[in-house]
């Protein structure tokens, strides 16, 4: 339909006409702002923690483990040069041979969610499965950050009280 509309604009005298075929589903999946009656509840994008430690396939485990420890976290997310999520290194895997390649010891394909997912539903899902966090990516698999259940609950509480929330896009104003 948008392609036909683009052609119609051209016939009406517009010379610079573009068609965004992926449309609002793609836009929403990237966590970009939307408006409308159904966009009233908070989404995951409101509570993403962007300080997610990343590493690459060709790094040595010893280097990665040191960075994980220094960052006081428990995992490193393996990404491509385009920041597409490929895997994760965590837990006992971090205690392996220091010379091992990340590619050889990582967990492939960790679970991810999209930033436009309902925040309430995601928190409930994490709690029901006793999961502390989940990765957030855009529709192309590019890492946007991590959603931590504890942080998300704080955001949800603030949103529920109507503090600096944006009714049009589900975003919270966070200092």
């Amino acid at each position: 339909m948008s392609s036909r509309a683009a052609s119609r604009f051209e016939s009406l005298g517009f010379s610079k006409v573009y068609d965004y075929l992926p449309g609002k589903m793609d836009w929403a999946a990237a966590g970009l702002p939307r408006e409308g009656a159904s966009v009233s509840s908070a989404t995951v994008v409101a509570a993403i923690n962007k300080d997610t430690l990343t590493c690459t396939l060709d790094e040595r485990l010893g280097d990665v483990s040191a960075r994980v420890k220094a960052a006081n976290t428990d995992a490193c997310i393996v990404v491509s040069p385009e920041e597409i999520v490929l895997g994760r290194v965590r837990g006992k895997a971090l205690e392996g041979e220091a010379s091992a390649l990340v590619e050889d010891i990582m967990e492939s394909g960790p679970t991810t969610i999209r930033p436009n997912t309902d925040l309430d539903e995601t928190i409930d899902l994490l709690r029901s499965k006793s999961v502390d966090s989940i990765l957030v990516t855009d529709a192309n698999g590019k890492l946007l950050g991590t959603l931590y259940a504890d942080e998300a609950e704080l955001f949800r509480d603030a949103y529920g009280e109507g503090e600096d929330s944006c009714c049009c896009c589900g975003l919270l104003s966070v200092a």
């Binding site: 339909m1 068609d19 965004y20 408006e35």
Partner: protein, 63 residues
């Protein structure tokens, strides 16, 4: 002939060139959810009168 573009180019055209971002779906779908800042010109009502107030020299992005 119009060009198909992706999200990043949409953002650039809107932010840097003030492009019109136009949802061409029916009003009910637009009111339910649309890209922030988009206007609604349903394909069925897209005619010369509907675009009379628009600047034809500016870029238009349909979705």
């Amino acid at each position: 002939m119009h060009t198909q573009i992706f999200r990043e180019e949409v953002q650039r055209l809107v932010e840097q060139e003030g492009a019109y971002l136009v949802e061409v779906l029916p009003p009910a779908e637009y009111e339910d959810e649309h890209i922030a800042g988009a206007i609604n010109l349903p394909l069925k009502t897209l005619n010369r009168a509907a675009v009379a107030g628009m600047d034809t020299s500016k870029a238009v992005i349909t979705y």
